[in-house]
């Protein structure tokens, strides 16, 4: 760890403001998917940098964009001082020797119609590595190194288990002696007992060949085990970055906290202070305008007049807003409109019922109650947009209006959250309340 601080001055990979959108070129397209939306970080030489996040958060796209397997829309990726995004075809091909990728799915990442030997050899052939004889020796050596037998050269991937296939994938990635390897969920498709072996192998190889890893994973325990530093991603944004242990011990960002608390610990006595998030992440086509996490955040900044509300009460309000958001969306599809005109509108719970279910249990301050009632009236009149806007006017805060900046919260640890601003309570303080 101490070494690493020295090396920080000499980063191998520098990603700055990287944006990758896709789906915008479709004919009847509409909004593009903002898979990676302005991500910046650095990876030091010899370090293992982890990216964690739930599925659909854009972590794989990020890895692929760095290797230029996906065309980034803006931003820069610097590798050892060269700007990758401006490389020409030839330079790019030459550069590819430096960086490789290990894939998640060991069955689909290697071509099953080729023998293991040919699979591992192909990168060597493409880059005209040495003489054919040397290549064969190199392949045998690699197979041996990743824990396979040289006689596996003539076998087909079919004859191997998932763990062994992943070893083949690793051997192929190592073939050209790269400096940098993107590990895209390298163990998530494997059984626990096999996982451990692959992780050990990766660690050994890192020591031996002085490799730099970018590890993409959703399994936080894996990340904690092998990463030096971690970035937590949500909806295309990097929510928090920091040294692994520090981040795991004292997460600053609300999302990181929720994510960490959601991991089931293999220990029946493990703490019960779990934060369960409501709902699911919004579509990356239409991310929330403010903080991307604002629709689910349990730490959301409230207006002063609402600070006195209990968590349950606040949740009811949030849920009410969710319901309205959904209903508004529902009305906009043409087929639905046709249906509505034909009198075949799907039966929905009358808004009064929704209101009574959500707000009956406790007494709210008058102003809140009033807004809710007003909204309900608007909904009955069919003014969904007005209703949503009214709620927004009443309850939304900076979390929903502005993108949070990155705040340095500790040494080497940065987090994107409005609560780090001095005028608000820090997330951890808020929780302890």
């Amino acid at each position: 760890m101490t070494e690493q601080n020295d090396e920080q001055d000499d980063p191998l990979v520098v990603v700055d403001g990287l944006r990758t959108y896709y789906g915008s070129e479709r004919l009847l397209g509409g909004e593009p998917v903002k898979a990676v939306d302005g991500v910046s970080f650095e990876i030091a030489r010899g370090e293992t940098f982890g990216i964690v996040g739930e599925s659909g958060c854009g972590k794989t796209t990020l890895g692929r964009s760095i290797l230029r397997l996906e065309d980034a829309d803006s931003g820069t990726v610097e590798f050892d001082g060269t700007d990758l995004l401006s490389l020409g075809r030839r330079d790019l091909k030459a550069w590819r020797r430096n960086a490789q990728m290990v894939y998640q799915n060991p069955t689909s990442s290697i071509n099953e119609r080729m023998t293991v030997g040919r699979i591992v050899r192909e990168p060597l052939d493409i880059h005209d590595w040495g003489m054919p004889h040397d290549r064969r020796n190199r392949v045998s050596e690699l197979l041996d190194r990743v824990g396979l037998q040289p006689e596996h050269y003539h076998r087909y991937p079919h004859q191997f288990s998932g763990g062994q296939r992943q070893r083949i994938g690793i051997a192929r990635a190592l073939a050209l002696e790269p400096d940098f390897i993107v590990l895209d969920e390298p163990v998530s498709a494997l059984d626990v007992s096999v996982q451990a072996k692959i992780l050990n192998l990766l660690l050994d190889l890192q020591d031996e060949y002085d490799l730099t890893y970018l590890l993409i994973a959703h399994d936080l325990s894996v990340v904690r085990h092998i990463c030096d530093r971690v970035g937590v991603m949500y909806l295309g944004k990097l929510m928090e970055v920091g040294p692994t242990e520090q981040l795991f011990r004292s997460p600053s960002n609300p999302y990181t906290r929720a994510l960490l608390s959601a991991i089931p610990q293999p220990d029946p006595d493990a703490g019960a202070d779990r934060i369960t998030l409501r709902g699911t992440p919004p579509s990356p086509r239409n991310p929330p305008t403010g903080c991307v996490f604002s629709t689910r955040c349990p730490f959301k900044i409230r207006r002063e007049e609402h600070e006195s509300l209990t968590t349950e009460q606040w949740d009811s309000i949030e849920e009410f807003r969710d319901v309205l958001r959904e209903r508004e969306k529902l009305r906009t599809t043409p087929l639905q409109r046709v249906k509505a005109r034909l009198g075949r509108e799907p039966p929905v719970t009358p808004i009064e019922e929704v209101v009574s279910e959500l707000f009956e249990l406790s007494t709210y301050p008058e102003s809140v109650q009033e807004t809710v009632d007003q909204t309900a009236t608007l909904v009955v009149e069919g003014e969904f947009t007005a209703a949503r806007e009214l709620l927004e006017e009443t309850f939304s805060t900076v979390c929903e209006h502005e993108r949070p900046d990155q705040h340095q919260v500790a040494d080497g640890q940065a987090s994107r959250c409005h609560r780090h601003l001095s005028e608000y309570e820090e997330p951890r303080e808020f929780l302890s309340e």
Partner: protein, 422 residues
Amino acid sequence: MTDESQAMSGVTDGPLLSVENLRTTFYTDQETIHAVDGVSFTVSPQQTLGVVGESGSGKSVTARSILGLVDDPGRVHPDSEIRYHDPAFVQTVARTYPDRVTWAGEKTARSASDAFVTIESGSGEGSSVTVERGSVNLVAAPDDVTRSLRGSEVAMVFQDAQTALNPVYTVGNQIKELLDIHQGLSGTEATEAAADLLESVGIPDPKRRLSEYPHQFSGGMQQRTVIALALACDPAVLLCDEPTTALDVTIQAQILELLERLQHERNLSILFITHDMGVIAQVADAVAVMYAGEVVEQASVDRLFDQPRHPYTQGLLQSIPGLASEGDRLPTIDGRVPTPNEPATYCRYAPRCPEAFEECKSTHPERVPVDSANEKSGWMRAHTAACLLYPEDESLEDRLQMHHNFGAPDESDAATTAREDD
């Protein structure tokens, strides 16, 4: 009847579902795979039994066998017993099949050889029998008994929620179908009940959701819907086959919380199958660890995680990243899970076991209490392991003898069936 099940019937609140020596075998052209090979466990009322194991250990097949959903070329061995103990259900079945009832304990068995209903205590007979305690053996029972059990008594939640829902019907339609079958509800009543169900599994704005199709739901909502489908049957036992594997951690947390709440609200017994030790630790009261078609260790969840005894369980727990020591290297288990394609006359874990010795290759370990102190405690609290190292306070010879004796009756059983088949 073995000692174990006698011990079990002594417990006042007996099991709700018990599986005894379950064998499910797949007969393909090339080989015979003993996917489930002599599995025994019990599910107690309102408790959660976790079944954990790597892929290919036979967890799913076990669940399928209980519901009679094993497809060709698989078959459940006729000597296996899957017993369901709910008195009301047993009574209904006993009344429908009065000539296939056995009274336990009575020496003069008034039972036919094909009896599948066992009554331990009750009164009356024939079609007016009342049952206080008893069980139905689902393996021997005719198909319509199994069918009447499905859903209304035991319902299942599958791993892949997306494909478990019929894509061409609305969610409401699918829930209402089950409400009609199991609770006789229809029309507006059913719609109300369906909306209530969706709400109880935490889907907001349920009325609107009823008229939507499964593909319009997110993964987490689909899994909630599958749970709602199971609940629509109003079952007593829920079989959950990896219900959270395909989900993200935050959604997984939601589902686990939901299951926990539902268990309390609806007094459910749950059989929870997963490969994730972390999940098991959160949800289960007792745990059975499966390896290559066999249960190798069973204990209460605290004991299992505190003092794992079987070398496999130990290895499994150690290899979890994050739980192990902070050192760089993770302890690992060598080799891979074998396909159980031959009868077990040896320990299937022996080739990978760091503690294996010569006898492991020739003696099949049976599930025994890990120490003699443990033997006396009740079934649910017992800690058993199928390993020649246990009971650990016996000498090696005694242990070998014990495992050998345990194994012997099975073999003779097999021999008799073979003869009968002739």
